[in-house]
Amino acid sequence: MIAELAVPFEYGYMLKAMWVSALVGGVCAFLSAYLMLKGWSLMGDALAHSIVPGVAGAYILGVPFAAGAFFAGLLAAGGMAFVKARSRLREDAVIGLVFTALFALGLVMASIWPTSVSVQTIVLGNILAISDEDVVQVAIIAAVTLGVLSLKWKDLMVTFFDENHARSMGLNVDWLKILFFTLLSACTVAALQTVGACLVIAMVVTPGATAYLLTDRFGRLIVLSVAFGAGTSFAGAYISYFLDGATGGVIVTLQTLLFIAAYLFAPRHGVLAARRRRIEALGART
């Protein structure tokens, strides 16, 4: 039994998949702490879909996928900001419009040059068969993002909580925001490899929201979030060995289960705690 459970650790590709997933999950979780504060959760989803033509184009041209994806991500973010500023459409419509158009472009490219890149890989990710060059790219992205975040996390926090306050402290708010979106685009690219375009949103939203239910202090929120992200990603990759695939699906299912647990049982903000308080309050009154 125990020998059987240890089997995944004997394969090089499984070990690689597990630690790469954990790395990506941890970094994305770091970003998720900020994203959900600001109500930008669906930006993560939009970016993940928007970079698909970049990835397809990069494979067709034979350049590193990260470069293509990153370029497409910036194009998408810029396009959204531009259309938003110059039309009377609401933000959600603009986001929906831009990311679906880019995603469709990616699909058309992939269907015209089918050999260069598989649609299935883009949409569902393929961490179990990740190539060594891709691992290097993902590791570089994750390391740089973690480095920048650990230096700037306080400045970003102030910016996201209260822009005016941040400005009065002499922080360059616009620069910090651009920095954040650049990091987000980069991490989306890394997450695309792990869980695929459709599930990136979970990686950049769910761990942060789970942590948010458990603590009121932002520093602790980040630590919890990163722990959840890295832990579920590692465990998800491990479990997917026994399920023969769907690594992204397993990781996201684990993250969602963790969120549900926090939603129900969180000591202060959970549903059960709220009910208990209500009953106690009623008891105290009578």
Partner: protein, 289 residues
């Protein structure tokens, strides 16, 4: 001239292309009408959430042996309701809750999909398979599309008032809760009806682009409905035929065409187009000197 006629006629001499054309035009029209309401209400991303959440419903329906459309519909609607419920009962923001719920359902759907032996292709569920629709699929789509269209058009004024100003709607005695859930039900139905043609990922585009395009072109809602439908029907028909000639994914071609029409409207809309405004300003400057 004959080359142009052939360009249209050759694809349509194949029965599968005829069916594809009819289905994509039908789906395009229903999505376009709904998109006008979604754009006004700010629910564009609700379509995104519901359509992803449909996946586990399809797989479970297959396992249990009930029609896939029913499973899909139930899953889509429960995603919308669950989002509302979690938002009410926790301190997490709505967009975050939405992201968690639909990605969780989609991820769970993927896991059970790999564990279940089905005759469904995952890529067909995700991107549609309009070139492979059967006559039966066509009839099903027509029923769903026709029903949704009829309900929306019959209640179009009530729905409009609700989307525009829910408080006013409540004040004049409209059943606001019913309209809210009615719109969610119609949205889920439309997504389920579009599954065969464009798949769950691209249906979002069809639920946003036509309404957004029409919104740039007119201030009257009635006219907005007409323009959106025209844009969608035109893009669907042309996109289907283009995809035949360049041998590319049909749903994606339709969506790209719609995006192209939006870009045209964004640049050249009579009152608010980017280029129009710029030309106007230049003419004014010249007149002033």
């Amino acid at each position: 001239m004959t080359a142009l006629i052939d360009w249209f006629a050759v694809p349509l001499s194949y029965p599968f292309m005829q069916r594809a054309l009819v289905v994509s035009v039908l789906v395009g029209a229903v999505c376009a009408v709904l998109s006008c309401y979604l754009v006004l209400k700010g629910w564009s991303l609700m379509g995104d959430a519901i359509s992803h959440a449909v996946l586990p419903g399809i797989v479970i329906a297959y396992v249990v042996g009930i029609p896939l459309a029913i499973g899909a519909f139930a899953a889509g609607l429960s995603c919308a309701l669950l989002t509302g419920y979690l938002k009410e009962t926790s301190r997490v923001k709505e967009d975050t809750v939405m992201g968690i719920v639909f990605s969780g359902m989609f991820g769970f759907g993927l896991v059970i999909f790999t564990k279940v032996e089905t005759d469904q292709h995952l890529l067909h569920i995700l991107f549609g398979n309009v070139l492979g629709v059967s006559v039966r699929d066509l009839i099903e789509t027509a029923i769903v599309a026709g029903g949704t269209l009829a309900i929306v058009l019959l209640r179009r004024r009530d729905l409009l008032l609700y989307c525009f100003d829910p408080n006013h709607a409540r004040a004049i005695g409209l059943p606001v809760r019913m309209l809210h859930y009615g719109l969610l039900v119609l949205l889920s139905l439309t997504i389920v009806g579009s599954l065969k043609a464009v798949g769950i990922i691209l249906v979002i585009a069809m639920l946003v682009a036509p309404g957004a395009t029409a919104y740039l072109l007119t201030d009257s809602f009635e006219r907005m409905l007409v323009i959106a439908t025209a844009v969608a029907v035109g893009s669907s028909a042309l996109g289907t035929i283009v995809s035949f000639h360049i041998d590319a994914a049909t749903g994606a071609c339709i969506v790209l065409l719609q995006a192209f029409v939006f870009a045209l409207a964004f640049l050249f809309a009579p009152k608010r187009g980017l280029v129009t405004v710029w030309l106007q300003r230049r003419a004014d400057a010249k007149a002033a000197t």
